[in-house]
Symmetry: C2
Subunit: 348 residues, 2 copies
């Protein structure tokens, strides 16, 4: 009880207004203010109005941290995204956010940039801030064991990318089926040499590659490793694969790309080499980002509905938070081929 403290208090910051201040101003106890805040029906109409007026008079702001400390449910949902510069993940994030808003949760977002060390940091940080649940698109090289430890006690939904061994729910598209349909379409157009471009070693890529192989097998075509280009799933990665593929002794006439961003890079590289996608070379992407339909030529792609995938992930998570259970449930979304100009109408 020092005098110094008292004078400091008097000169305190733009004094944070607390329920005690509100209570004094309204002439009630702080318990009553709390009852008003939590919307209790026990408080008299007259009193409620007086308290509400006091709150706006004083510019009171609810201190959620204190409430959570006392035991209230946290309303924070954390989103951990591997690559926000890919428009697809951005669409996914919008969907998650929309659903969270309608459930009156607040989203926390972090971009890991495929860096698993950074991912560890941000997940820890979100937990320190009391996140009630997490939607994670794991960065490349994530360790399931580490993530399990890090997310102990909170529900987690993986979006798009599975991570074998992780105790979490999963929302993802039918990658294998989608890739099979796309490849079959190219084969149906008369292509016999179809490349698969892009993607790093991880489940999504393996699934899409399997679908590609499925379609080749069904058509009696050989799986030629020379036609599979392991490049970064970026525009630059896609572009970098093209010269090598076209320089093969028996070059491909079509390609299924790991995602739309890669496809955009491929189309750009083709253009630079004087070829036209959809006429000289068929290109199909994956994800069907919004840009796909606005490109020239418009990009044929496998639509996975990023926004609604995000919404479903968020709903699945919110359900677990509300029920206090942690599930390991898998929801598969559609992957439908949307045919546009970039794959042409028949083999060149």
């Amino acid at each position: 009880m020092s005098d110094a403290d008292v004078s400091m208090t008097a000169a305190k910051r733009p004094g944070r207004v607390t329920i005690v201040d509100v209570a004094r101003h309204a002439g009630v106890s702080k318990s009553t203010v709390s009852l008003v805040l939590t919307g209790s029906p026990l408080v008299a109409e007259e009193t409620r109005n007086r308290v509400s007026r006091a709150m706006s008079d004083l510019g009171y702001i609810y201190h959620r941290g204190a409430a959570v400390l006392r035991g209230a449910q946290s309303s924070i949902i954390g989103m951990v995204i591997n690559d926000l510069s890919n428009p697809f993940f951005h669409e996914l994030a919008i969907g998650i956010e929309r659903a969270c808003q309608s459930g009156s949760y607040v989203t926390f977002i972090a971009n890991t940039g495929e860096n698993s060390a950074r991912q560890t940091q941000v997940i820890r940080s979100m937990r320190e801030h009391g996140a009630a649940g997490l939607v994670i698109c794991p960065a490349l090289g994530s360790s399931a064991a580490e993530l399990n430890a890090l997310t102990e006690g909170v529900p987690v939904v993986l979006a798009m990318r599975r991570l074998p061994g992780l105790r979490a729910s999963i929302v993802a598209p039918e990658n294998r089926l989608g890739a099979r349909k796309a490849t079959a379409h190219l084969i149906g157009l008369g292509h016999r040499r179809v490349a698969f471009i892009g993607g790093m070693p991880m489940v999504v890529r393996d699934e899409r590659l399997s679908g590609y192989a499925d379609a080749l097998g069904e058509a009696g075509l050989p799986f030629d490793p020379a036609l599979v280009a392991d490049v970064l799933p970026t525009r630059a990665g896609g572009a970098s694969a093209v010269p090598g593929l076209l320089g093969l002794a028996d070059p491909p006439t079509a390609a299924l790309c790991f995602n739309d961003v890669v496809a955009i890079g491929v189309i750009r590289a083709l253009t630079a080499l004087g070829r036209t996608a959809g006429r000289d070379f068929a290109v199909i992407g994956f994800d069907d980002i919004e840009d796909a339909r606005h490109m020239v030529p418009a990009l044929t792609s496998v639509a996975v509905e990023g926004q609604s995938l995000g919404e479903r992930a968020a709903h699945l998570l919110m359900r677990q938070i509300a029920s206090g259970t942690i599930l390991a449930e898998t929801q598969l979304g559609p992957a439908d081929l949307v045919i546009r100009a970039s794959c042409g109408t028949s083999a060149a």
Copy 2:
């Protein structure tokens, strides 16, 4: 791998590990644990190790909310973005996030979708969660008075969009100058009828329109309201303006677009009408989003460096948070014309 639901036993509700648990496990007092947490040099090496081991043994997670309640600095920075589906704002957000990370702040993001009621909600929510500062791209129709009340006591930096009357710092590009340079370039190519497409009534749009008018005036050309299309700053908005403009008695041969997204819509509409941007009609965008350089034709645009703008906004904010002051400082960033194919090399 079945997708059947596997529910794990949930909710060991009363099981939060606190510093008291850590202290007991390590055989020290909770103050000592606190000292270790805050990195105090006062604690013995041996003790520190024992405590650290106890923390990882028990899976302890720091409770930042409790620390903030006690008086620690909040490490949350809120980003309030008007339209995350525009790649430009996404680049801005990445820049903000990167800077915040390097300052060991955590970002909170919310997309208002140009809805000012929603903006009020999310700002209130961020404050309830103890945000130390806010970066805001105000939604259309924001009220300065309301925002002033809502952000009382925390530093705010407006990014891109000013809001007259708001007590806040501002980081924005030289819109007027950039628009003037772009328009002058079109005029220099021989165009005499230059349209301005897109944008809603707000400061950014007024600035860019003023720059456009400046350049017309300098060249002795008239400002013709018929050439100014007030459409939504979206792809669809841009596309919708084209037929009307081309149908004028004395149609434009070039257009400066409010932003790149609008320009993309314009180019698409031109293509649909059998015209080619850069050959039959010159198009310049604004912002220079990453996609601009990958389009066909590549989009001439006014580069405003979204990521570095975001970084500067974040730095300005963090400086204010650290110093405990609230400034109203304006920082103007560059707006440089990047010439690519979409504006052609001479008037058609």
